[in-house]
């Protein structure tokens, strides 16, 4: 009944409405912190217990792709922040532009992630019966491994299972496999959930973009852009932690 323009019925003023939406999103992000937090805790404890296997797991990840994704994601945070800014200062065309840029970057991130997942699949690093940390060193050609890189990886894995190779073929490998598999379970759970958040974010962006074509967001009303921005930046922050924890555990070896 009180719908004037963008004001919803339960509110008295636009200010109140904006205030409410922002607080709502912040509180939602708190729940997200604890949601991911449970997983970080699981990660911490397992990593502490099996540092060798986790180190090997981390080193099989492709640092270039991970680094690229970090850059992409931070860039998308920048464009998102700029979209909010454009709305605040009333540059309505640019709002759309920045939102589209953010969406493209987000899509690129997911694309790279898909490539990485595919790679893990090819390298037999998906937890399950086909899981095998040594697949790549045993089949270097199918992993594109060669030269020094191959040597390094082989040395690393060999170090971990050397004893077993001499005396007791088969047993050290099993443990290493089990613990590396734990690493990859966490890797997929964490990056998978992160990617799921990206997908949801992309959906929100699509919805914003559709609306921004009509020039809906300006200095007077930009709550949806701002609130989606908060979410997007949060997803960025999760990655900021995932990247060193998953990719950089044991690089100095």
């Amino acid at each position: 009944m009180h719908r004037t323009g963008e004001l919803y019925g339960q509110f008295e003023t636009l200010e109140q409405q904006k205030d409410t939406a922002q607080l709502g999103m912040w509180i939602f992000l708190v729940t997200e912190v604890l949601f991911f937090g449970g997983m970080f805790l699981t990660y911490t404890i397992n990593r502490h217990a099996f540092s060798a296997a986790f180190g090997i797991g981390g080193n099989t990840l492709d640092l270039r792709l991970g680094g690229l994704n970090t850059v992409i994601l931070i860039m998308s945070s920048l464009t998102m922040a700029m979209a909010v800014w454009a709305a605040q200062v009333g540059k309505k065309k640019r709002v759309t532009g920045f939102l589209i840029a953010t969406l493209i970057l987000g899509g690129a991130f997911l694309g790279v992630k898909a490539i990485e997942y595919k790679q893990k699949y090819d390298h037999h690093l998906i937890p399950g019966s086909t899981f095998n940390v040594t697949y790549c060193v045993n089949n270097p050609s199918s992993c594109g491994l060669a030269g020094k890189q191959l040597e390094d990886e082989r040395r690393e894995i060999e170090e971990a299972i050397k004893a077993e190779e001499n005396e007791n073929p088969g047993s050290g490998l099993i443990a290493l496999n089990a613990h590396a598999q734990l690493y990859f379970s966490l890797y997929f759970a964490m990056t998978g959930l992160h990617a799921l958040h990206m997908v949801i974010g992309a959906g929100l962006l699509l919805w914003l973009i559709a609306q921004s074509f009509g020039g809906r967001f300006g200095p007077g009303y930009n709550t949806p852009v701002e609130v989606t921005g908060l979410y997007w930046h949060f997803v960025d922050i999760v990655w900021i932690y995932l990247f060193p924890l998953l990719y950089l555990i044991d690089r100095h070896n």
């Binding site: 540092s51 060798a52 007791n168 099993i174 443990a175 290493l176």
Partner: protein, 332 residues
Amino acid sequence: MQSQLPLYPEQASNFAPQVDALMVFIIAICVFFAVAVTLAIIFFLYKFRRKSTGEIGVAIHGDMRLESAWIVVPLVLALAMFAWGAVVYVDFRRAPTDTLDIYVIGKQWMWKLQQPNGQREINELHVPVGQNVRLIMGSEDVIHDFSVPAFRVKMDVVPGRYNTLWFRPTKTGKFHFYCSQYCGTNHAIMGGWVTVMEPDEYTAWLSGSSGTIANPVLAGEKLFAERSCLACHASDGRGRGPSLNGFFGGKVKLADGSTVTADEEYIRESLFNPSAKIVAGYQPLMPSYQGQLTEEQTLDLISYVKSLQAEPAPSTGAGATPSQGTQTTGKK
């Protein structure tokens, strides 16, 4: 044994009187508060019942002194309950040094127990009265819990690690033990009896029972050779791994500078997660036996390692049965 409606189970261990005393103490405090509040409510309900329809109460908004009083008094009592409870618990978690060690393995839905001499029992436990007993417990599948109400003791039995529990029976007789952690279909019948005997009866029982005692030390020795432990852990200390002679119960210096006590849990960890604690001066070469050994084999190996005395190295496992009582002394 007792009346039709007993209020507490028999007191048959050193912990039973302690726990019961604690119970009485807390009951006293709680009954005091419960009665005080209830009487106050009943009195007010009667005294201040509504006497006419339009009547309202007196507007009293609060009283700082009262509020502080009923914060401080319960707080003090609460701390007292905490402290007493903590004393009993710490005692319970720290077994004395002179225990009779019994291995317990829980699996869906039975208990396998093993006396120090290798005598095995299923869902039965025989112990001598007056002797400190320690149960070293592992599980082959899910979490179980070994519980003896008459002793007022209980401890979860968690797969992947050993938990211990100790008590000193003070009364001969037969007492129920239960599985107290829900573990699946037959959780309710995963129990049995503890038989507490006079020490000489116990000794007689140990020697008198069936001739084919599976000697864990012998079995462990066999495994030690079969699983090529021997290849690295030569008794002269010149193998790739440290010599294990006389190592049990002492302190081990680790590569990162810390020390650990060589106990059952540590051996277990060395077997399943050898890279977690590296002995100073050695390389992390030892392979993990995760998934290679059953719980029983693990216990056999541990028994064997424990039996390895510093001097002289035992020639065969025969006669290396751990002496009852003091073999697990913590200090060297």
